[in-house]
Symmetry: C3
Subunit: 247 residues, 3 copies
């Protein structure tokens, strides 16, 4: 139902994201009826974020120039009460990413942090062995750490993995299902973050609508299972189908 709500509202989602997944993110948003706009020049991001219905900040291939653009876009979104989603890609991998995430969280009102377990651990200052931008392995109480993070930044935290966790610092829900093959498709987490932004664009009950989205995303990946090339094709098909856009 969250994907259908996107399809019905067709929100404009301003994405400052990485060049690895920009194409897939745009196609995923289009598949469910949203309008993606990618723009990262400092000269225009304020104006672009001001007219968007939601803003996505994804740190995947950040650099000095785009970090400044993320800040400016975020401030503009905040000023216009436009929801902001932060995807702190690989935040545990380098000091540069850790510092950038901290700066964004300190400067901006972030509505949702969407991350994997390793990224959550890094944001929370908990020990964890990350592996590049992948989740990594370790032993941690995800729900407890996610709640702490949500309380620290007064936002909703979504930690995805074999089991997804969503919390606003008080309520905690878990989402099962899906298929691990989705992790073999680059940008599957990044696209989910973009869809979170699209959901927030028109949501009166963000927590419940995001929870629904997580369930739908798990369903899409479970329905897509195939050899990996076909998985890519199937996944866009499934998103379109769940959005009610298959005609």
């Amino acid at each position: 139902m969250s994907l259908q709500a996107i399809y019905n509202k067709q929100p404009l989602v301003h994405c400052i994201t990485n060049y690895v997944v920009a194409n897939f993110t745009a196609n995923g948003l289009l598949a469910v009826g949203a309008s993606p706009v990618m723009a990262d020049a400092i000269e225009e991001v304020g104006e672009m974020a001001a007219q968007a219905n939601a803003l996505l900040l994804n740190m995947g291939t950040l650099n000095e120039r785009t970090i400044e653009s993320m800040k400016k876009a975020g401030l503009s979104a905040n000023m216009h009460n436009t929801p902001v989603v932060l995807d702190p890609v690989g935040v545990g991998a380098t000091k540069f990413r850790a510092e950038t995430a901290q700066q964004l969280l300190d400067l901006l009102k972030i509505n949702v942090i969407r991350c994997n377990i390793g990224e959550m651990a890094a944001l929370a200052g908990v020990n964890w062995a990350s592996k590049g931008v992948d989740s990594g392995k370790g032993d941690i109480d995800v729900a407890v750490t996610a709640k702490q993070l949500a309380n620290n930044y007064q936002c909703i935290v979504i930690v995805t993995g074999e089991q997804d966790v969503i919390t606003d610092g008080i309520r905690v829900e878990f989402v099962e299902g899906g298929h691990e093959k989705v992790t073999k498709m680059t940008g599957s987490g990044c696209l989910l973050s973009a869809l979170c932004a699209a959901v927030l664009a028109n949501s009166k009950e963000p927590f419940d609508d995001l929870l629904t989205l997580l369930n739908e995303y798990k369903q899409a990946s479970a329905n897509s299972v195939a050899t990996i090339g076909n998985f890519h094709t199937n996944f866009l098909n499934e998103l379109e189908n769940l959005a009610g856009g298959r005609k």
Copy 2:
């Protein structure tokens, strides 16, 4: 026949384009037998444009650095009588894009502007409600405005949408057909602009050859209709087929 002409001539098309659609653009050009080269460093774009058979300037994810590269590449192309196509992506969305498009049009001899209705309106200074980089909605006589734009810049203007319009300021032709699903595939307009460049690379009758291309592109999208993931696959298949490259 325009796609077949590309296939037979295999033009080298220098693209300065956005990172969202760079992959799809390269694959679309390759599918019809053209040789794409993406290069946007100021230090080399002059040399690269000088050896290319056509140049594409796409403003999708422009920034201060790449704008200078677009100018330098454009001047080099002009000096070598190499055709230049401008795709003013989202020109109506921000002042930065509007100013950049104006600078490029003032500085360079542009052979073809390929845009959607919202972008045309912005270039022509006509009222129109754009939506990010999407076309938007409004009430406007497309043919009249396109002709005016073509006369202003002494170029061919192609405005794509449910009905395509192509004009050189005097002659006007309309192209029907296709399928709206093509708008759910990011970069469909951007790829068309790149194919316009490939057509111009070897054309003695640019207007007629571009008109043929528009018809073939509509045909490819009509033939590709399927669920969205399969649409992507089908579309590349159809381009290859229409180019005579399916063996």
Copy 3:
């Protein structure tokens, strides 16, 4: 077996590559079980390369900023005895690329150069008519030139084309097979370079393991033959299959 070795070891491959093929490269690495990480900010590449199992430097859309990042990442990799693969995309096309490749080869210990014939000719200072980033045409003894290059830089040189050549300056092997259609899929050479990096990450006999990879890559492309849209899908399927990841 080289792809299966990647699948078993799941190496972290740090890629500084171009925005045209970043998505395809990431998906190709994921298809065979490797963990790609794309990061090109000067502030973090040293740290990222230090924790990676292999480093790929691809010059496809190089610019002043990313060249400095390639140097810093390369030095970090060298210091940690991490293998480095150089893909000198389009090195014959512009003076800027030629100078950059020379700087990287002078500054860094490169383990493998993976290129096409035109790029090899440019690196070796041999006459050849390149065409943008494509191979071009000419008359040259590939094995002799490749050996010379391998001796000059004390590395393994892989020259791919209708017939692949691999040499360490002494031994020379040739690989036949495959299908020309792979050249119609952008980034097929770039992905191969990334897979070379993944192979090196865990190899005790680099020459033999890379030779095996070349055979497997030819096999994947031969097995993928179809219309071009389906070829893309099939190719990822085949990589996954050869890696033993199809379950």
